[in-house]
C-alpha cells in the first residue's frame, strides 16, 4: 500500500481501460476500468455471473475484449492467447484445475519447459529438483514424482499454484484459490501471496470469502452484472458494505440454527472404520438437528460421509438408521433408506455436465417416483422439477438449459434439489456452499435451516469455520481419522475447534 503511494511516477502494473465484452445476447462486461498496482493484492468480488471470471480471462489472454484496452506498465497490451499473456508475465490459476492427472507433479509444473540434455531427452532428475525447490518455497510437502491423480484436491491445487509461480510472473491471477483448501492450507497460501507481494508481484484475487479480503487485500473492486461498482481499501469498508455492493439488495439475516428440538436418533454410527481412512467413529444424529463436522483435509471426514452413504464399504463397525442396523452396499440402497448426499466435488461426482437442468434434477427420484412400468411420467417429473427450481431460486433460462451453462452456485442448488426430490429424512452435506456466492450461500443456509425445522437430520461437513459455528447444533471434530471431540453449540468456539482439529 505504502509502496504505491511512494512511487507516483511509475505507471501502474496493469490498467484495464473501458473494457466491454459480450457473448451472444448477453453483455458480460460493460465499460470496466480498474488498475492493479505493483506489489499489491487487488481483490475482485461479485456474485456468480457478475463478470469476474470473464474479466480475468481477458487479462490472461483467454478471451479478447470487444472494446477497451489493457495497459501493462503504461504500454498497450494486446493478448491473443494465454501463451502471449505468460510471455508478458501474466499467469492465471484457474478455478477449474487444468492439470494432467496421469503425469507426475514435476511434469505438470514444467510441462512444455522440461530441462533437456544434449540429445533433447528430458532430464528427470533436474526436473524433479526444480519442482522440489518450487514446492519448498510454497512450504508444501509433496513428492515431485507423485502421480497427480493420486493426490487429494487440495494438493492438486497447490501444484496448479506452483505451476503459475514457475513462470516468474509479475502479475498473478488467482480465481478462488482457497475454495478447496482447509484453513491451514489457506493460511500457508496467504503467506506465499504476501511474500510474492513484497517482491513486487501484483495479484488479482477473485474470491467469495469476505473474511479473506480483510486478511489479504490492499484494494477491493466489486463487479455487479458486468459493471464496475466501485474500488476501495478494505479498512474503509465493512463486511456489510461489500455484500451490499455485490448484491445490490439487502440480504436476509445470516442463518442461525434454530434451537435443537432433539428428536429421536435418525442416524448413528458405532465404532465405524474404513482401514487407512478413519477409525472407530461413533456418533448419534437426531432428527431436527445439524451436526457439523469440522476437520482439516485428510481428517477422514469426506470418507466418513461416503461410507454413511454406501459409496465406501466400512471395514468395521455398524451404521444404524432409525434404530435398526443397516448394511448399505450402494448409494441406491442408501437413498431408498431415506438418505440424501451432496458431494463435495460438484464436477467430478455431482453434475452431468452434458445434460439439462431437468435431467440433472430428476435422476435420483426416478428410482422411486414418476415411473410406471419403466416409463417416465414426463409431465409429473417436470412439474416437480419446476417447483424445486423456483423454491430454490435457481437462476436458469429454463429446465432444458445444459447445467454446464449455469454458475457454480446455481449448479449447487440443482444438486441440492436432486437430493430433496427424494424427500430424504437424513441429509449428508459435504461442503454445501463451496464455490458459491454470498447470495446463494445465504439462501442455501436458510434452506437447510428450514429443512431441519421440519425434522430433517443434517450432517454437515464444512471447511468454513463461520459456517460450522453459525449452523451447527453440535460440532464433531475429526483429526487424522479419529473423532477428537463432539462439542455442544455453546461450547463450540473457533479456538476450541481448531485445537481439536489440529492437535
Amino acid at each position: 500500500m505504502a509502496a504505491a503511494v511512494a512511487t507516483p511516477v511509475r505507471p501502474d502494473l496493469l490498467e484495464v481501460r473501458g473494457v466491454s465484452k459480450s457473448f451472444p445476447g448477453v453483455a458480460a462486461l460493460e465499460d470496466v476500468t480498474l488498475r492493479l498496482r505493483h506489489g499489491t493484492v487487488h481483490a475482485l468480488m461479485g456474485e456468480n455471473g457478475a463478470g469476474k471470471s470473464t474479466l480475468m480471462k481477458i487479462v490472461a489472454g483467454v478471451c479478447t475484449p470487444d472494446s477497451g484496452e489493457l495497459r501493462l506498465e503504461g504500454r498497450a497490451l494486446r493478448l491473443g492467447s494465454p501463451g502471449q499473456a505468460l510471455a508478458a508475465g501474466i499467469a492465471m490459476i484457474h478455478q477449474e484445475l487444468n492439470l494432467l492427472p496421469t503425469m507426475s507433479v514435476a511434469e505438470n509444473i514444467w510441462i512444455g519447459r522440461e530441462p533437456l540434455n544434449a540429445l533433447r531427452l528430458v532430464r528427470h532428475r533436474e526436473l524433479n529438483r526444480r519442482a522440489r525447490a518450487l514446492l519448498e518455497r510454497l512450504a508444501v510437502d509433496l513428492d515431485p514424482r507423485a502421480e497427480l491423480r493420486t493426490l487429494p484436491l487440495a494438493a492438486r491445487q497447490m501444484v496448479e499454484i506452483a505451476r503459475a509461480l514457475s513462470y516468474d510472473s509479475r502479475l498473478l491471477i488467482m480465481d478462488e484459490p482457497t475454495s478447496a483448501l482447509t484453513e491451514r492450507e489457506a493460511e500457508r497460501l496467504f503467506a506465499v501471496i504476501r511474500d510474492l507481494r513484497s517482491r513486487g508481484v501484483g495479484i488479482f484475487y477473485v474470491t467469495h470469502r469476505i473474511e479473506e479480503l480483510f486478511a489479504l487485500a490492499d484494494e477491493i473492486s466489486v463487479l455487479r452484472d458486468g459493471r464496475h461498482v466501485g474500488t476501495s481499501r478494505p479498512r474503509d469498508l465493512t463486511r456489510d458494505d461489500i455484500i451490499r455492493m455485490m448484491v445490490g439488495r439487502e440480504l436476509p439475516p445470516p442463518a442461525a440454527a434454530a434451537p435443537a428440538q432433539a428428536g429421536p436418533v435418525a442416524l448413528s454410527a458405532q465404532g465405524l472404520s474404513v482401514a487407512g481412512e478413519f477409525e472407530d467413529v461413533s456418533f448419534e444424529l437426531h432428527a431436527g438437528e445439524i451436526l457439523g463436522v469440522a476437520g482439516l483435509a485428510g481428517s477422514g471426514r469426506s470418507k466418513l460421509a461416503e461410507t454413511l452413504f454406501g459409496l465406501v464399504a466400512p471395514t468395521a463397525g455398524e451404521i444404524r438408521i432409525g434404530g435398526s442396523a443397516v448394511r448399505l452396499d450402494s448409494p441406491a440402497a442408501a437413498i431408498s433408506r431415506g438418505l440424501g448426499f451432496l458431494t463435495e466435488d460438484r464436477k467430478e461426482s455431482g453434475c452431468f455436465l452434458s445434460l439439462s437442468v431437468l435431467e440433472n434434477l430428476e435422476i435420483s427420484v426416478l428410482s422411486r417416483d414418476f415411473v410406471r412400468m419403466g416409463f417416465v411420467h414426463a409431465a409429473g417429473a417436470r412439474r416437480a422439477c419446476e417447483r424445486m427450481v423456483s423454491a430454490l431460486r435457481v437462476k436458469t433460462p429454463g429446465l432444458g438449459e445444459r447445467i454446464e451453462n449455469l454458475s457454480g452456485g446455481n449448479q449447487q442448488k440443482v444438486l441440492i434439489g436432486r437430493c430433496l426430490l427424494t424427500r430424504p429424512k437424513i441429509l449428508i452435506l459435504d461442503e454445501p456452499t463451496r464455490g458459491v456466492d454470498v447470495g446463494a450461500k445465504a439462501e442455501i443456509h436458510q434452506l437447510i435451516t428450514r429443512l431441519v425445522a421440519a425434522g430433517t437430520a443434517v450432517l454437515m461437513i464444512s471447511s468454513e469455520m463461520p459456517e460450522i459455528l453459525a449452523m451447527s447444533h453440535r460440532v464433531m471434530v475429526m483429526h487424522e481419522g479419529r473423532v477428537t471431540g463432539i462439542l455442544e453449540r455453546a461450547a463450540a468456539t473457533q479456538v476450541k475447534i481448531m485445537d481439536l482439529a489440529a492437535r
Binding site: G25, S330, E348, F352, L353, L366, S407
Partner: protein, 342 residues
C-alpha cells in the same frame, strides 16, 4: 467456464430459435446433400436419376438394415461411454447357431440330423439368446472387472469369431427351411430395422432405462452417487446390444439362406460409424437413435451411389473412410461453435 448467460433469464430470440432445431438437423442436411449430389452426378455421367428409382432405394435400405439393427444397440453402448467391437463376430456366431437349427429335411449332412424342419421360432429364439449371452459376457466383464469396454469386447470379438468357426469346423450351414428364409426376404429386414429403432428411440427418450443410460455416460461417478446401480445397468445395455447383434445374425443368415463363419465381417465398424455420424459421442452421454438411423442411411446412400455411378469398389472404401471422418469433424465443429457461443 462461467458464462454470464446463467444470470440472465431471457437469451436472445435467435439463440432460442437455434436451440430448438433438433441436433440431427445438421446430419440430415448432409444426407440430403449427398443424395442430391448423386442425383446430379447421375444425370451428368450415367444419364439417369439416382432417386427416382424405387428398386434402387429399396435395395439400398435393405442393404443397410442389418447394420442399422446393430447400430441401434451400439448407439446405446456408446451413450454409456463404452464401445462394442464384438457385434460383427456375434453376427457370425448367431448366424451359425440359428442356421443350424433352421435346416430342412433336404439338408444332406445336417448339423443336428434329429433337429430338422423345426418351426422358425426356434432358430430365431436361439439366435437372439446366443446374442444376448455374448452381450451378457461383455457387460459382466466390464462391470465386474472394470476393464475398458474396448478390451472386453475385443476379446469377445476374437473368441466369438473362433466359436463360429469351431461350431461346424468351418463348414457353412445351408438348406434352410422356407419359413426361416422368409425372415430375410422382401421388406422384412427393413421393417425389423425400423421397428427396432422406434422401440429403442422410445426407450431412450421416455423410460427410466434411457435416463440412466445417458446419466452413466455423462458422468459415471455422479450416476453412482445419484443412486443408479451402474454395474447392473451396464450389463443390461451390453446384453441388449448383444441381443440386437443376434437379431442381425438371424436376418443375415435368413437372407443368405445359409450360415457362414465369415459373416458380419467389419459390421461392428460400420455400426459404430453410423452411430458416430449420427451424432453419438464416444466420450459418452450424447447420442440419439434418430441420428443413428440417418447415419445408417448415409452409409447406404454412399455405397449405393458409388455403385450407381459404376465406381470401382476399391475407391468406394477409400472414399467411405473419408466421409465418416468428415461427417464427425463437421459435427464437432458445429458443436464447438455452439459451445463457445454460450
Amino acid at each position: 467456464m462461467q458464462p454470464a448467460l446463467a444470470d440472465r433469464t431471457a437469451p436472445s430470440a435467435t439463440a432460442a430459435r437455434v436451440r430448438r432445431l433438433p441436433p440431427e438437423a445438421g446430419i440430415l442436411l448432409v444426407l440430403i446433400a449427398l443424395a442430391l449430389a448423386f442425383e446430379l452426378l447421375g444425370w451428368i455421367f450415367v444419364h439417369q436419376s439416382f432417386l427416382a428409382n424405387e428398386q434402387r432405394l429399396v435395395i439400398m435400405i435393405l442393404q443397410v438394415s442389418v447394420i442399422g439393427v446393430i447400430a441401434v444397440g451400439v448407439t446405446q453402448v456408446i451413450i454409456t461411454g463404452g464401445i462394442d467391437l464384438s457385434s460383427g463376430s456375434v453376427v457370425a456366431l448367431t448366424a451359425m447357431v440359428a442356421a443350424s437349427l433352421a435346416q430342412s429335411s433336404e439338408a444332406v449332412r445336417a448339423v443336428y440330423p434329429a433337429l430338422i424342419d423345426l418351426p422358425a421360432i426356434v432358430p430365431v429364439a436361439a439366435g437372439l439368446a446366443v446374442g444376448a449371452a455374448a452381450g451378457l459376457v461383455n457387460g459382466t466383464l466390464i462391470a465386474s472387472t472394470g476393464i475398458p469396454p474396448f478390451i472386453a469386447t475385443l476379446g469377445v470379438m476374437v473368441s466369438a469369431r473362433g466359436l463360429a468357426k469351431w461350431y461346424t469346423r468351418g463348414q457353412p450351414v445351408s438348406m434352410l427351411t422356407d419359413p426361416y428364409a422368409a425372415i430375410g426376404s422382401g421388406a422384412v429386414p427393413v421393417v425389423v430395422f425400423l421397428a427396432t429403432a422406434l422401440l429403442f428411440h422410445v426407450a431412450l427418450r421416455h423410460t427410466r432405462y434411457g435416463k440412466f443410460t445417458y446419466a452413466i455416460g455423462a458422468n459415471r461417478e455422479a450416476a453412482r452417487v445419484a443412486g443408479i446401480r451402474v454395474g447392473r445397468h451396464l450389463v443390461l445395455v451390453y446384453a441388449i446390444a448383444g441381443l440386437l447383434s443376434g437379431l442381425a445374425g438371424v436376418l443375415t443368415s435368413a437372407r443368405a439362406v445359409s450360415g457362414q463363419a465369415g459373416m458380419g465381417l467389419m459390421y461392428e465398424l460400420d455400426a459404430i460409424a453410423a452411430a458416430v455420424i449420427g451424432g453419438a459421442s464416444l466420450s459418452g452421454g450424447v447420442g440419439r437413435i434418430t441420428g443413428t438411423v440417418i447415419g445408417t442411411l448415409i452409409l447406404g446412400v454412399v455405397t449405393s451411389g458409388f455403385t450407381f455411378l459404376r465406381i470401382d469398389a476399391y475407391y468406394q472404401e477409400i472414399v467411405k473412410g473419408g466421409i465418416i471422418v468428415a461427417a464427425v469433424v463437421a459435427d464437432q465443429y458445429r458443436r464447438r461453435r455452439r459451445l463457445t457461443a454460450t
